[in-house]
């Protein structure tokens, strides 16, 4: 009788069998003593009882669904933003051909993320929000917030876009540890995460080169990076595109209930895993900015929600 061999066989069909069991050790504990009491003929029944318990559980626990619905909410925020941008003629007039093409790629990716996450969640997915749920001016429903000209002025539009993408990168990173119980979901989330980072990088290029610049990747970053950022986040980017509203996107999160060993530091953080990056060997001569640029930071759900609700109308329960 070799229980591990059986589980190993099952693993070929169900790669997540070990996650469904508590652990190899605990399954062994379940079996301890059984062997003495049961004959070999009765063992399959006992093993069956254990697995029956395991597979009777829902494969995805509530917290995984919650994290995915949270991600889906953010994807709606992004997706509707790019749809509205594409529909605005005055905005399109101010964008170069290459920038329009890039924004269309991003728009399609975000729309695909919505569809994908809805597919993953199935019946557990949230009700789709209406477009009236969002106010991308940051006016919470007045349409006259700090980004009042967002769908007319390409510079404002790209600034908001960068803010949304940089937030998305931090949100997926913060959510990843909560998805470790489901390897397929975790990998999918990581695969969206890196796409958001690619988007953020491209949007930063657009802002650096200017909305009407046709060169895909030119432009010189200019400190303090509010208007002409690098492709990666340097320090806290001086609060981002519009510091009064966007500073939290680059600031520290809330470490209450953070997963073990995880902290939600500001983007300017230069200590990783307890190691002070600035004192690593072989890095002398690097500019101070390099140490924070080399690592993006994660952000917790509560802080991300507060940021996202900058663009949700007052009274809405969306992302509440």
């Amino acid at each position: 009788m070799n229980l591990f061999q059986i589980i190993s066989e099952i693993e070929k069909v169900d790669p997540e069998v070990y996650d469904r069991l508590d652990s190899r050790r605990s399954i062994f504990k379940h079996m301890t003593g059984l062997g003495q009491k049961l004959s070999a003929a009765a063992l399959p029944l006992a093993v069956g009882a254990i697995f029956n318990k395991v597979y009777a559980q829902t494969p995805m626990n509530a917290s995984v669904n919650d994290v995915l619905n949270f991600a889906l909410s953010l994807e709606y925020l992004e997706s509707y933003f790019y749809n509205a941008g594409q529909a605005s003629a005055p905005l399109q007039l101010g964008l170069s051909t290459t920038n329009k093409a890039a924004l269309e790629i991003i728009r399609v990716d975000e729309s695909n993320h919505v569809t994908f996450l809805r597919g993953v969640l199935g019946a557990a997915a949230i009700t789709p929000p209406t477009t009236a749920t969002f106010d991308y001016t940051g006016g919470k429903g007045t349409g006259a917030g700090p980004f009042a000209d967002v769908f007319i002025n390409p510079a404002t539009y790209l600034a908001v876009a960068q803010s949304l993408e940089d937030t998305g990168v931090r949100a997926y990173k913060g959510g990843a540890p909560l998805l470790m119980s489901n390897k397929t979901v975790l990998t999918a989330a990581l695969n969206i995460h890196s796409v958001e980072a690619r988007h953020a990088s491209r949007l930063r290029t657009m802002r650096r080169g200017g909305a009407n610049n046709n060169a895909a990747s030119q432009g010189v970053p200019a400190a303090p990076y509010n208007a002409a950022p690098k492709s990666w986040i340097s320090g806290t980017d001086n609060g981002g595109a519009s510091p009064a509203q966007t500073a939290p996107i680059y600031g520290a999160g809330n470490n209450t209930n953070a997963p073990t060993g995880v902290t939600f530091d500001a983007e300017s953080n230069t200590t990783q895993g307890g190691a002070n990056l600035t004192t690593l060997p072989n890095t002398t001569g690097f500019p101070a900015s390099a140490f924070s640029e080399a690592f993006d930071e994660a952000l917790d759900v509560t802080t991300v929600k507060a940021i996202a609700r900058t663009f949700v109308v007052n009274g809405s329960t969306f992302l509440a």
Binding site: P44, M60, D109, T184, S194, V195, H199, G273, N282, E293
Partner: protein
Amino acid sequence: MSDNLQPLYTPIKRRSFFTYAGATALVLAGCSKDSDPTTSTPGTISLGAGDVGVLNYAYALEQLEAAFYAQVVKTPAADFLAGELAYFTQIAAHEAIHRDFLKAAITKEKVGSLLQDLTPIFTTINFSSRNSVLTAAKLFEDLGVAAYNGAGILLKSQAYLTVAGQIASVEARHAALVRDLLTPGSFAADDQIDANGLDKQMTPTDVIAAAQSFITQQLDASLVGK
């Protein structure tokens, strides 16, 4: 991707479980020894097992990237466009910091398990040619993103998963820039992003196979995360 999606929301049916249970009786009779995953291929350097293996795996890639960009900065291509050397100088610093961070993390995690210094082979890269440098950079950055994306499920520690993500998104930012420098508008092109809007992931053995021609030492990633 639709095949991969299936396990996300389809519970294993009770009926199919009982198929396993039925087979159990048969398997019981003829069970062999535990399959032992702890042996490595002779003549190669094993990256190790468990989380340390994943860290060593990342360390191998970061060594390669850091060495590459250090050379790019040291002997910049004559036909770099304005501003490009500055980009590469920044990326070179990021990769060197990733490399040295991982070295410190591995040493802290398990003394004596640190992967040796690797010797890069860059003979196929023409460092005096912008196109050759950008082509190699694109390969390394996309490979890095896919490697980190695929390594997430191998990690046991939430803290290491987070730090891997912290590096992964910076690699993705690099990848997008480098891709656009090489081919304008390709930052998230269809060869990299699928119809679901998802980036790629690769297994350690596939990544090492793709990187092996740039590394003198023969690496074995078969135990990574096991």
